[in-house]
């Protein structure tokens, strides 16, 4: 049973890998076809939320899935991104694209600051700090009325435009935008994962002391992880604000943090496919089980508990069954040295 399921998985993975460029092109074609598909408003909104939460999941995944630092305060970053973008656009009339970038950069800076305590704290202690951070951000948004307009929130957020053409929820182009952002984020996360940076992060997650002994500057990489995670979340926040006419502090509460965390854990820690699946599951579930009324949250909770019991690595959190990918350069270098590229058995003496 185990063997055969492994073989199926292996076949599936090598199939996906072989046709990865085909899938990428297909994704792009479908993305740009969205506005012409005649999707209903409900479906557009649902798909937007799924892509948005997949992106938020990817952001948090950098921190939890790669570096092993658990944050319960990502709604704080999300809020900072959304408010930065919204305030820049409404108060200073900054162009959306610049505001979006600045939202990411500013959130990344806050991420840097929040990363500092991570050098001294670990495990649950760090999580508590991030939890506090989320509450502090929420408090500031509510109290700093001269800037954030307090509980009334920021109103009249303009829609982004491309050469004068407006992207709205209604015409479906905002969905195109978030799908593209999600795609770029996913590719960027994979690029980071399979590099020196990603290996350093994962080494820290597996054994911080040993990582330090291998010469990895653990402080630097933990902060970098916070910065990257906050940047992605800030961009997602900036996007979120333009999907709405107004944002208010209540859009970014502890529950939002938990929802993002659930996406990461249900989908599969450390994977990109898991973020998309987790976001889809957690957004669709309440829709499909609407007939259960209040009971759906009980079922929802039960689902999470069962998940943790029987599949703690997450729904799609399997380990790759594929061999380690040797780049074209590496294969060429091996060939030039006259060495085989396939794994070799040990020489028997």
């Amino acid at each position: 049973m185990k063997k055969s399921s492994n073989r199926i998985l292996s076949t599936f993975e090598s199939f996906c890998y072989r046709f990865r460029y085909v899938f990428a092109v297909l994704f792009l074609v479908l993305t740009f076809a969205v506005p012409f598909m005649g999707l209903s408003m409900v479906n557009i909104q649902l798909l937007t939320l799924i892509a948005l939460y997949a992106m938020l999941g990817m952001g948090l995944n950098v921190l939890i899935g790669y570096t092993g630092l658990v944050s319960l305060g990502h709604a704080g970053f999300y809020a900072i991104g959304a408010y930065t973008c919204a305030l820049l656009m409404t108060k200073l009339s900054v162009n959306f694209w610049i505001a979006l970038l600045l939202a990411g950069v500013f959130t990344a800076f806050i991420g840097f600051l929040l990363g500092l305590p991570s050098l001294r704290l670990s495990g649950s202690y760090l999580s508590i700090v991030t939890l506090g951070f989320c509450e502090v951000v929420n408090m500031i948004l509510k109290q700093w009325e001269s800037v954030t307009n307090g509980n009334y929130g920021v109103r009249g957020i303009p829609k982004p435009t491309v050469f004068g053409f407006q992207l709205t929820m209604f015409n479906g182009w905002l969905l195109v935008l978030i799908l593209l952002l999600m795609g770029i984020t996913g590719v960027a996360c994979l690029a980071m994962r399979n590099s020196n940076t990603g290996r350093a992060w994962r080494a820290i997650k597996d054994d911080e002391l040993a990582a330090g002994m291998m010469g990895i500057n653990t402080s630097r990489y933990k902060i970098l992880s916070f910065v990257v995670s906050a940047f992605i979340t800030g961009i997602a926040g900036g996007f979120y604000c333009v999907t709405r006419d107004y944002i208010e502090p209540n859009n970014f509460v502890f529950n939002t943090s938990i929802l993002i965390l659930s996406v990461v854990i249900v989908g599969g820690l450390g994977t990109i496919r898991g973020m998309i699946f987790g976001a889809a599951l957690l957004q669709l579930f309440p829709q499909w089980f609407r007939f259960l009324n209040e009971w759906r949250f009980v079922v929802y909770g039960l689902l999470l508990v069962l998940m943790m019991l029987f599949r703690p690595q997450g729904a799609l959190g399997w380990r790759s069954t594929q061999p380690y990918h040797l780049s074209k350069y590496a294969r060429k270098m091996l060939a030039d040295k006259g060495e085989p590229e396939a794994p070799q058995p040990p020489a028997r003496q």
Partner: protein, 259 residues
């Protein structure tokens, strides 16, 4: 001046003196063993050398550079790398990735290079990958290249730790009980590999309990007991030294040499 020089190094934890004024040196190209009964302070010496602990007093130099104030990251960079008595691999990473983490400090490309996959990234990453494969081949682990570290048998995990230490481009490698948990065939294989390392120009400082390994491989041996160096010399001298026999071989492990 020797390659590695430690003079009167002392490590105190509160009232406990774990290492008490130990003096030793390692010359380039040597295999030196550090032996002693359990709790003698051998691993503490390794932790002092690699900057895990800040030593209480004494002097340590490596190629003339003062080690006493250095942090672990800098010590790896100047060429000292180690393995751990209790395995400390990166269990959820692949075998080859574990070795690639060893090459981390030799990387010159930066974060943006990896994000944009620049030619510099591709070239360097390929160089390190090839080097990792070569190291794995030399230690006989290449057939497990794609496996995840936690799926390896114990003996192979020990080898992987050595491979990872080599990948840092260390000149001096500290091996903390590399043969622990290996069967006689495996430890013979390991012996051969450590000799090969020596032939390639590596210098090795070794903690080991397996006397068949220690006596066969060492150029010189130091004996530590209760934090003090009680003897040093050639394997033959150590085996016949009455103080050593009393402190170490004469105790519980009387028959250790016979197997």
């Amino acid at each position: 001046m020797s390659f590695l020089d430690a003079k009167n190094i002392t490590m105190q934890f509160g009232g406990l003196t774990a290492v008490d004024g130990a003096t030793f040196h390692v010359d380039k190209g040597e295999i030196v063993s550090l032996i002693g009964p359990n709790g003698a302070g051998k691993t503490t010496v390794f932790n002092m050398l690699t900057g895990v602990y800040h030593i209480t007093s004494g002097e340590m130099t490596f190629e003339g550079q003062d080690l006493t104030k250095m942090i672990p990251q800098d010590i790896v960079k100047i060429g000292i790398s180690r393995t751990f008595q209790n395995l400390r691999l990166f269990p959820k990473m692949r075998v080859i990735e574990n070795v690639l983490v060893g090459t981390h400090i030799r990387n010159k490309y930066n974060f943006w290079d990896s994000l944009l996959r620049t030619p510099r990234f591709r070239r360097e990453e390929a160089e390190h990958t090839v080097r990792a494969i070569e190291i794995l081949r030399s230690i006989g682990l290449d057939h497990l290249r794609d496996a995840f570290a936690d799926s390896l048998p114990y003996g192979e995990q020990r080898k992987l730790e050595i491979a990872r230490a080599i990948a840092t481009d260390a000149k001096l490698i500290l091996l903390d009980e590399p043969a622990a948990g290996m069967n006689p065939a495996e430890s013979a294989e390991l012996l051969r590999f450590i000799r090969e390392l020596k032939d390639k120009g590596y210098t090795i400082l070794l903690i080991e309990h397996d006397m068949s390994v220690v006596m066969n491989i060492s150029d010189r041996i130091y004996v530590l007991d209760h934090g003090k160096m009680i003897a040093e010399g050639l394997p033959q001298e150590i085996a016949n030294n009455p103080r050593v026999i009393e402190a170490y071989l004469g105790g519980v492990q009387k028959n250790a040499e016979s197997d």
